[in-house]
Amino acid sequence: MTTAIAKDPARFVETVIDEEIVVMQLDSGDFFSLSGSARAIWEAIDGHRDEAAICAALAGEFSDADRADLATDVTGFVARLRAADLLAA
């Protein structure tokens, strides 16, 4: 069974600065700078897609990337977002 991944907007603020998105975790005060594939994954997390759907969404944007590598990147990045308490439970 797949699970949709959703951000928890009560836990962070974000702003777009040039080519990056800066996210501040409001509980810890930690800042995250997201650019390139990290930004793409962050933007693809819409509360409806699961990891596979996020990979599929990114495949078009990163057509040179190997699909397996992309899946690994998404899994790793989502785990980091979860560890940072930026995703809904």
């Binding site: 603020v13 974000e14 702003t15 080519e19 800066v22 501040m24 409001l26 509980d27 005060g29 650019s35």
Partner: protein, 167 residues
């Protein structure tokens, strides 16, 4: 003892030092030192999650650009000056967030509306301790934490209730 020449209230136009202004200025610096010590301890020892709520209502940084023309903010400026002078009398460095927190608390105590803003430098300009910055705004005027470098506002905390306009 000579008047504190940095305080606009401490010296009258003819150079005489009005006692009331001098004592008020000193009291504000003493209050600022206490607020700065509290702010430094808070930042160093308590997770942001525990004191974020005390900063006031979270506001959208995009709304900060809509400030109107600058009114007379003399009382708020005096407090900001007291915080900077108080910071200079404390050992060690008092960084921007502690100064902003101290001023924000002093303004809130007097029911003077203000917004504490936390911002970040664009990536191309990063590489120093000042990449993250905090400052306090009142009606578009930066009371404390003004810099020559560009910081993009990320989040603001206002002491004003949602529906009330800034006094």
């Amino acid at each position: 003892m000579p008047p504190d020449s940095l305080d606009p209230d401490a010296v009258s136009p003819d150079g005489a030092a009005p006692p009331h202004g001098v004592w008020r200025a000193r009291a504000q610096v003493a209050e600022a030192i206490a607020a700065l010590v509290a702010a430094r301890l808070t930042i160093a020892t308590i997770p942001l999650a525990r004191w974020r709520g005390a900063l006031g209502r979270q506001v959208d940084p995009a709304s900060l650009a809509k400030a109107g023309p600058l009114p007379a903010n003399l009382a708020a400026r005096r407090l900001a000056s007291a915080v900077d002078r108080g910071a200079g009398r404390l050992p060690g460095e008092t960084r921007c967030l502690a100064r902003a927190l101290a001023l924000h608390a002093m303004l809130r105590r007097r029911r003077i509306g203000a917004i504490l803003v936390i911002g970040v430098r664009p990536r191309a300009e990063r590489g120093s301790l000042d990449d993250l910055h905090a400052w306090v705004l009142r009606q578009g005027e930066t009371l404390i934490g003004g810099t020559d470098t560009r910081h993009v506002p990320l989040v603001g905390f206002s002491t004003e209730p949602p529906s009330a306009p800034m006094p």
